[in-house]
């Protein structure tokens, strides 16, 4: 593992949204094939960091270097370079509600890679099977599925083009503990099967422990701690301890309003 190359390297990333300085210099190295989970309180900047990494948002300052290429300049070709090799599971699943399930899963194949509908459907049903969904589900509409099923479909859609990098935005939010564990298992299984590098953000510690090779904690727009999942109990960092144990009292005080 240690011999592997760095896949993504984030350096001194800054981002301001309106009056709020969300990211204040993030530094992260992610090795190829590693699963990194970034934990942090709501509003700590996790989502913004993820969006800057995948190219949905342009950072104000700093760089995101993927395979030696800085994509933080956010040019058309940077974004294409990134989307070509990555997939993302969105917090609310973000399925296209006007399309059938299989068309959702095959969306990239149908519209970006110009596969035939037949081949795309075949691949979509394969991906659905990989996340434990029967082929009949393929013909349903997203609104006919429960939240947990939608998450599975969204995962199937993210892996449909065999990405090398996978992003997970709060993969277990809004799910019951059992379904959350199912999704966690699927994530671990699929990431392993693809040999992909995975970056997840979550505030669910159970999920973080399960899917992470390493955990990093984001606080006030900076990474304040990083280590293995079994080291997190003895981090000797008061902020990490407070977060892991879920206490209202401690060095982290929650802002009631934004900014």
């Amino acid at each position: 593992m240690s011999m592997r190359e760095t896949k993504i390297s984030v350096r001194n990333l800054h981002k301001r949204l309106g009056p709020r300085q969300v990211l204040r210099g993030i530094d992260l190295e992610i090795t190829e094939g590693q699963s990194l989970v970034v934990i942090g309180a709501s509003g700590s900047g996790k989502s913004v960091m993820l969006k800057c990494m995948i190219g949905l948002m342009k950072a104000d300052k700093g760089s995101v270097i993927v395979d030696g290429r800085n994509i933080a300049r956010h040019s058309e070709s940077d974004r294409r370079f990134m989307t070509k090799q990555s997939g993302m599971l969105f917090q609310g699943s973000a399925l296209f509600d006007s399309l059938r399930i299989w068309e959702n899963v095959a969306f990239r194949l149908l519209h970006a890679e110009k596969s035939s509908r037949k081949a795309a459907q075949k691949k979509a049903l394969e991906c659905l099977a990989q996340v434990g969904l029967a082929p009949e589900v393929g013909n349903l509409m997203p609104s006919e599925l429960s939240g947990g099923m939608q998450k599975r479909v969204s995962l199937a859609r993210a892996i449909a083009s065999d990405p090398q990098i996978l992003f997970f935005d709060e993969p277990t939010t809004g799910l019951d503990p059992i379904m959350a564990d199912v999704i966690n298992n699927l994530i671990v299984e699929r990431v392993k099967a693809l040999g992909a590098t995975a970056i997840s953000i979550t505030h669910d510690m159970a999920s973080a422990r399960k899917i992470a090779d390493e955990i990093a904690m984001l606080y006030q727009g900076r990474i304040i701690w990083r280590g293995k999942p079994d080291e997190i109990e003895n981090s000797n960092n008061p902020m990490v301890e407070q977060f892991v144990n879920g206490r209202a009292e401690g060095p982290i005080t929650m802002a009631v309003t934004r900014a």
Binding site: I54, T83, G87, Q91, G92, A94, D97, F107, R157, S161
Partner: protein, 257 residues
């Protein structure tokens, strides 16, 4: 002092918004020429915007044509010019009422629907998801809708023209004792190609503007259900106002005084 600052800020905001909408519109139009073009999305938009607007546009046209016939008759009686009813009615409908009323109906139907649909996709991260799946939302969502509306509105207006004149015909012949053949003959001898074509050109421009407003406010919406509601409202109002303003500008270009 504050009054000046407020006026300046308002003016700058308005200019900035106009600039953003223009940029959005040109980006949407440019997307037609740089592939890929999503034919399925385009056909779906044609049906949704054009075909399903037919009933409401037809109803608007027939009632307006009928009421217009009565008004023109009553007004022109005062100087004994009622025999010119067919000519006045047809030129009013073809040059002005057909394009404007059809555009306003489509603005109400289509730009609100676009703003709501695209806005919901924005706040539920479907547009972001589309980007991560290597599909440009501008090409998949915006370009087909703008093109479909720009192409279908002239067709809708042509149909509205015919139905509107027919509405006038019904009233003229059955209530005002005009001869049917004379009514038709007067119109066909009087109307020039120019009258109809300028109306259709207007319609094309209106279609473009309506869809740009619907798409722009949807695409830039934020903040959940309330944001989408606000985007929808703004889109309809903006579309209607822009159509009416553009109508005056285009008319003043076409009518050389």
């Amino acid at each position: 002092m504050n009054l000046f600052a407020a006026t300046g800020r308002l003016t700058l905001d308005a200019l900035r918004e106009t600039g953003r909408i223009s940029g959005f519109a040109s980006q949407g139009a440019m997307a037609w020429f740089t592939g890929p073009f999503y034919w399925r999305a385009f056909y779906a938009a044609l049906i949704r915007i054009g075909f399903t607007s037919l009933p409401v546009v037809g109803l608007t046209a027939i009632f307006t044509g009928a009421a217009l016939a009565l008004n023109i008759y009553d007004g022109s009686l005062r100087f004994n010019a009622e025999t010119f009813l067919p000519q006045i009615l047809s030129v009013s409908i073809v040059r002005e009422l057909g394009p404007v009323l059809a555009a306003l109906m489509v603005a109400g139907r289509a730009s609100s629907a676009m703003a709501a649909e695209i806005g919901t996709m924005r706040v539920t991260e479907q547009i972001d998801a589309m980007s991560t799946l290597a599909v440009n939302p501008f090409k998949y969502l915006i370009a087909p809708r703008i093109l479909a509306t720009t192409l279908t509105l002239p067709i809708l207006v042509l149909i509205a023209d015919i139905i509107g004149i027919y509405g006038g015909y019904l009233v003229s012949v059955y209530a005002l004792d005009f001869g049917g053949p004379v009514y038709i003959q007067n119109i066909s001898e009087f109307l020039e190609t120019r009258d109809i074509v300028t109306g259709l050109v207007k319609a094309g421009v209106f279609g473009f503007l309506i869809s740009v407003m619907g798409c722009y406010y949807g695409y830039t919406s934020s903040g959940g259900a309330q944001g989408v509601g606000a985007a929808t409202r703004t889109a309809v109002v903006a579309a209607a106002v822009v159509v009416l303003a553009a109508n005056y500008l285009l008319t003043s270009l076409f009518v050389q005084v």
